[in-house]
Amino acid sequence: MRFSRLVAACAASVVVLGGLVACAPPEKEDSGEQTQSGVSAREATSAEDFGGLDGLIEAAKREGELNVIALPPDWANYGEIIKAFSDKYGIKVNSAQPDAASQDEINAANQQRGKSSAPDVFDLGQSVALANTDMFAPYQVSVWDDIPAAYKDPDGKWVNDYGGYMSIGFDSAKVPAVTLVDDLLKPEFRGKVALNGDPTQAGAAFSGVLMVALSQGGSADDIAPGVEFFRKLREAGNFLPVDPTPATIESGQTPVVIDWNYLNAAETKKLPSWQVFVPSDYPVAGYYYQAINKDAPHPAAARLWQEFLFSDEGQNLYAAGGVRPVRADNMLADGKLDPAVAASIPVVDGPVTVPSPEQTQKATQYLSEHWAQAIG
């Protein structure tokens, strides 16, 4: 009877497992309450469906909570933004996995679908956002008309919330000032130039290689000169294959970092000799994509979060984090952007390169085939 012990053990394991499953958060039963216009909060496409902004605020307060994901407190001022939203409306904000990547946000929404802990809203990089638009609920904020058409989905499934320019941050106490990308090949930069991530994996690194490509005569359709530049950088011994973080920057391990200007600018507060150079001859811009999870457990709060982010208050808070809010130009023209904050946003005249999804895909393909070789 050797089997009886095994069978008994397996049976009991099943019981224990059943218990584990039973401990998971309960499924949310109501699918969003009815609004005044008779549309459920889940289906609402503007504040009008709630009978105006006050109705939306009421509905959101009744839900009482908002789940956000992958919003680091020191990124684009999200720490302050979450606090301001929470204080203003008395809604508890649950911030999950602040350091997660864009794809993790989508994974979390899929894995926790129907649970009260699922993310209500997304803040995504371009590729991930455009690949998952069928997971977004269309919604148009009150200031919809003030957002340039190039930065929003016509149905409001996603809206660009903020963006920035690719930049070169450097510690002026350790290296000479950088005024050209080609400066980085000089012997003074031996072992000092870091890129924020692997361009086949991280959006910031991808845009960094694209910016370098533009400086070497490439274009959004031709990223090869950028890869070639990094090959030269490595052969000169200047390329530093370390993932830069605030810790490596402050400790001096990464004296030059190619990254978004707002991330580099945030370091200046901690390290005063840290300067940020945005190459105005070949600027590369990238915007993040804000969207509502169509299965949001708190549909009204998710919509109120959109209203807040795109309001003058939310956009000014973004700008205070060194990013360029999507309404920056119109708000500057109307004098609604805080002047102190406006001064800190880099001004770029002339054309700005924002790669289209097709260009990004083609360039990524090239990178997956050539990057590892160039830097290994």
């Binding site: 224990v16 990547a101 794809q103 361009p199 959006g203 991808f206 490595r234 294959p241 990524t364």
Partner: protein
């Protein structure tokens, strides 16, 4: 149910939490990996397995095997010599206790802390690098060898040698004094005893330990993740890239196939290890 089988059930009860953990954290993930490596769009497909033969995946597998193999070899040789030296001193000696304690700690000293220790010492801006550069004008860090497979070999060796000491000391302790005395009384020289008695007895244990070291290095992830940020030279890093890339989406199937590949390699190694250990056990009873 008879009284006997009731008792059996009662005896098995304390094992249940363990079994539950094994099922949740070992069996289910393994089955998930195997199933997903072959299932695509709801049907059986070999597309994901085929992707394992792409140049990227093959190169990663080659480098993983090179890294694990070389560090297992280096670790096994140096670890065995160190263990031999340590075992010669009496069990209560300070030296022996100190070396064994240090080895126990260092064998577990992988991960981010170890990677950072090397970065801060011999990295491009490491303390030792800058110091040697200043004093002798010699560049230790070169053009960044530490951040690729060559650097991983050095760093992995750092925890492979102590691990070898720990797993090899019991085998050495199993060599009975009587065997040596018998050999000597029959007129064997020290070298003859070593060559004709000790080495044949220890060979299975040595090879077994080397395989354990291989598996240890093959599956290690955190150290490599902290040290290598560009390209994905080895399989565990390629799995990370396939799962988290913001630029190339929809590669999770490829990650499952890579995970299956790792399971197969480790399984082969572990079967060989068990066979060798069984052979040694005959002598060390």
């Amino acid at each position: 149910m008879s009284a006997l089988s009731l008792r059996r059930v009662r005896d098995a009860l304390p094992l249940l939490p363990f079994l539950a953990v094994v099922v949740v954290f070992l069996l289910i993930p393994t089955v998930t990996v195997i199933v997903n490596a072959f299932v695509d769009d709801g049907g059986f497909s070999l597309a994901r397995i085929e992707a394992l033969f792409s140049p990227t995946a093959l190169s990663a597998l080659g480098k993983s095997v090179l890294l694990s193999g070389s560090t297992a070899l280096i670790g096994a040789v140096f670890g065995a010599v160190l263990a031999w030296l340590v075992i010669d001193s009496p069990p209560e000696s300070m030296l022996r206790r100190a070396v064994l304690s240090v080895c126990s700690v260092l064998a577990q000293f992988g991960g981010v802390a170890l990677a950072f220790a090397f970065l801060a010492t011999v990295g491009l801006n490491g303390v030792l690098t800058l110091w040697v550069q200043h004093l002798f004008g010699f560049n230790l860090a070169g053009s960044g060898w530490l951040y690729s497979v060559s650097g991983l070999i050095l760093v992995y060796t750092y925890f492979q040698i102590p691990l070898m000491v720990i797993v090899f000391v019991p085998a050495l302790e199993g060599l009975r004094d009587q065997w040596r005395e018998a050999a000597f009384s029959l007129g064997a020289s020290r070298w003859q005893y070593f060559r004709e008695v000790a080495v044949p007895l220890l060979t299975p244990a040595f090879l077994g330990s080397a395989l354990l070291l291989f598996a240890n290095a093959f599956a290690a992830y955190a150290t490599a993740a902290a040290l290598v940020s560009q390209g994905s030279p080895i399989v565990p890093l390629l799995i990370r890239a396939a799962l988290t890339s913001e630029m190339v989406l929809g590669q999770s199937g490829f990650a499952y196939a890579l995970a299956l590949e790792m399971i197969v390699v480790v399984a082969v190694v572990m079967i060989a290890y068990n066979a060798l250990v069984r052979r040694t056990a005959r002598w060390l009873r």
